[in-house]
């Protein structure tokens, strides 16, 4: 109103003459504002309801899985059909072994590829590799199993932990390549330029400057890949199959035999009509989720320590 008074004092036409200032007030009685309010409420409710499944899963795992959890499930072998008791010790060992093997194969390949990508950003090959990795990210996990079946199981003549590990490798590779490349690129260019200025060869720059600086980011990628691989079932179903026995016999690991894993055990036992097996499936699911979450959280804790570009 002050503006309006000022204007009339100056003998000019009042630009706000036709304006009803009440219209500008924020009121829920106006359709536009009401619509705004309703949509805001709706989006809040929808977002929170998206989290309901998460809490439901966690609650069921803690309740049904926690009930059955004891030392015995870690040390005993899976029970037969109507047997009581039992555990899934061999499945834990199998999961850890196969993921470990996959890490041992994938990490060197993935990091070397990432170094190439970061060092030759614009080259045609780098573009192609990056694209191939992105395509592999969305690669259905069951097809990794089909491939490992065709390439390893058919050639070696049997289901094995090795075939399972190879199938997991395909799923881990793109995560490790893409996150490591990002981590190496994030190294401040002044550090790289300083190394080159001191006369370091590209290899020395990579080993003494880029990799040590990028290691938190690389570890994040590796841990996230482990978290994904540990939970995968489809690629193991017909590569590692399942086994009711311990992996170690006569003092060494049997890499070329069918191998148990937590994920396949959950799948097999979930469909059984026996209460004992279903309970074990829930306990195994709890252990598996804890393993996966631990890997996830450790990975995330590394990512906070990255050197920032300035």
């Amino acid at each position: 109103m002050a503006t309006a008074n000022l204007n009339s004092n100056l003998n000019m036409t009042d630009p706000f003459a036709g304006v009803d200032f009440g219209q500008l007030e924020h009121s829920l009685r106006r359709p536009r504002t009401l619509m705004d309010f309703v949509l805001s409420g709706l989006v809040t409710v929808v977002t929170l309801s998206a989290l309901v499944p998460l809490f439901s899963v966690i609650w069921m795992l803690a309740w049904r899985g926690g009930k059955r959890l004891s030392v015995a499930v870690f040390t005993q072998l899976p029970p037969a059909a109507l047997e009581s008791g039992g555990g899934f010790g061999n499945a834990i060992v199998g999961t850890l072994l196969m993921v470990g093997l996959a890490v041992a194969i994938t990490v060197p390949v993935g990091i070397m590829t990432a170094i190439y990508l970061a060092q030759n950003r614009q080259s045609k090959l780098a573009e192609a590799v990056r694209f191939a990795s992105k395509v592999l990210t969305g690669f259905p996990s069951i097809l990794a199993g089909v491939f490992a079946y065709g390439a390893i199981v058919l050639t070696t003549g049997g289901y094995s932990a090795l075939a399972g590990a190879v199938a997991l490798c395909i799923l881990m590779l793109p995560t490790i390549v893409l996150t490591s490349e990002d981590a190496i690129r994030m190294v401040p260019s002044r550090m790289k330029e300083a190394a080159i200025g001191m006369g370091a060869t590209p290899t020395q720059t990579v080993w003494m400057v880029l990799l040590p600086t990028a290691i938190p980011g690389i570890l994040t990628g590796v841990m996230l890949a482990i978290a994904r691989a540990a939970g995968e079932t489809a690629p193991l179903l017909f590569t590692a199959l399942f086994s009711n026995y311990w992996l170690f016999s006569h003092g060494h690991a049997q890499l070329m035999r069918p191998t148990a894993s937590l994920a396949v055990l959950i799948y097999n036992f979930a469909g059984m009509p026996f209460e004992n097996q279903v309970e074990l499936a829930w306990a195994a699911a709890l252990v598996l989720v804890l393993l996966v979450l631990a890997a996830n959280l450790i990975g995330r804790s590394f990512s906070g320590r990255q050197v920032q570009q300035s």
């Binding site: 809040t44 989290l51 439901s56 060197p108 590829t113 395509v135 060869t201 003494m208 959950i266 469909g271």
Partner: protein, 356 residues
């Protein structure tokens, strides 16, 4: 850390010694050994990079070669056949292709509705506004600890939604069998009773079926949609938002009129990638979809998908059936590769457009 260890020798030497350059000590061309190592390392990193491309080619090659006998034998009628019966050697995957597309499209619709809402909620600072209003009520909005709470909660919420993606699909399958199916069964059967004349509700839910599979699938692809959409929404230039507010648009008029259209390409790319993920998802579907080879519009009838077919039949397949299953795998590979490459290209263009 590395920069410090590199800088250390210079810092340790006395200032005067810095200028006393002795030949061969500070400035020195890389020795023969060093340049050899350099060449070898660069060569090997090149080879490893080639490995990734070779791997993709080899996967496609390996599956195709194994599928060739079945392709010769079954031909294209494999894609249109409706019967899968190993005993009579009849193999058709039309029901599986239908089931794969039907469940994935339904899951995409539900997942997008929830995922996009979550992305908008997380990128538009809603929580911050609500929390700020509450904190101001207690006169704590400038407090050093409490003032940071809204940001922290928003971060926590984002991470919780990402956590949905971390839970293994077999655990979702287990949860679906023991929680989702008993929970939705009464509602589904009531719908069948009242609205059974509609094709969507023409059968009752007797256990596993399309509906529980779609619900679980939607939960599994939601984090992908939320993460990518949120990136697209936050990369909308702030000046567009400010201009819309300046013209007097309400928050939602801004979102619908300016922000969503600007971010639409990124959101669409995320949807395509999520769709690709839904197509290839195996375990939750193998456990929840019912593994019955029929083509039906009903949401409650059991169905089958390509991935579930592979998961169920591979372990006990003989040499001939393996080839037939490889053919089915090739079909799945074709569908997912097309969808994924399409999605990757869209996202690449979207990020390029954002940079410009």
């Amino acid at each position: 850390m590395a920069s410090k260890s590199l800088a250390a020798p210079v810092a340790n030497s006395a200032p005067g010694a810095l200028f006393a350059i002795r030949p061969g000590e500070i400035t020195q061309a890389p020795s023969r050994w060093q340049s050899m190592v350099d060449k070898a390392f660069r060569g090997s990193s090149f080879l490893f990079a080639c490995c990734t491309i070779l791997l993709v080619t080899f996967i496609v090659f390996r599956i195709t070669v194994s599928a060739i006998p079945a392709m010769r034998h079954e031909g294209l009628s494999f894609l249109s056949g409706r019967v899968w019966d190993p005993n009579t050697a009849q193999h058709g995957i039309a029901p599986q292709i239908w089931g794969t597309l039907y469940t994935s499209i339904l899951a995409l619709v539900i997942g997008t509705a929830f995922g996009l809402a979550a992305a908008v909620f997380l990128s538009e600072g809603y929580l911050g506004q609500i929390m700020f209003a509450i904190l101001r009520g207690f006169n704590l909005h400038l407090h050093p600890f409490w003032a940071k709470v809204p940001d922290r909660i928003e971060d926590l919420l984002r991470q919780l939604i990402e956590l949905l993606a971390a839970i293994p699909s077999v655990v979702y399958g287990l949860w679906g069998i023991f929680v989702v199916i008993p929970l939705i069964r009464p509602a589904c059967n009531w719908l069948h009773l009242k609205l059974g004349w509609m094709a969507l509700f023409s059968t009752d839910l007797s256990g596993p079926g399309v509906m529980p599979a779609v619900i679980v699938l939607a939960i599994m692809i939601l984090p992908t949609i939320t993460a990518i959409s949120r990136d697209a929404l936050t990369s909308v230039p702030p000046k567009l938002r400010m201009a819309a507010y300046g013209l007097g648009a309400t928050r939602w008029e801004t979102i619908f009129g300016v922000i969503l259209p600007t971010a639409s390409r990124g959101i669409f790319g995320g949807m395509v990638l999520a769709f690709g993920r839904a197509l290839g998802e195996t375990m939750a579907l193998a456990m929840l979809v019912g593994n019955s080879n029929r083509i039906s519009l009903s949401l409650f009838s059991p169905a089958n998908t390509l991935a579930a077919l592979l998961a169920n039949n591979f372990p006990e397949a003989g040499p001939e059936e393996v080839s037939i299953l490889m053919y089915a795998a090739l079909v799945l590979l074709g569908i997912t590769l097309i969808v994924n490459i399409f999605g990757a290209i869209i996202l690449q263009q979207a990020s390029r457009a954002a940079v410009e």
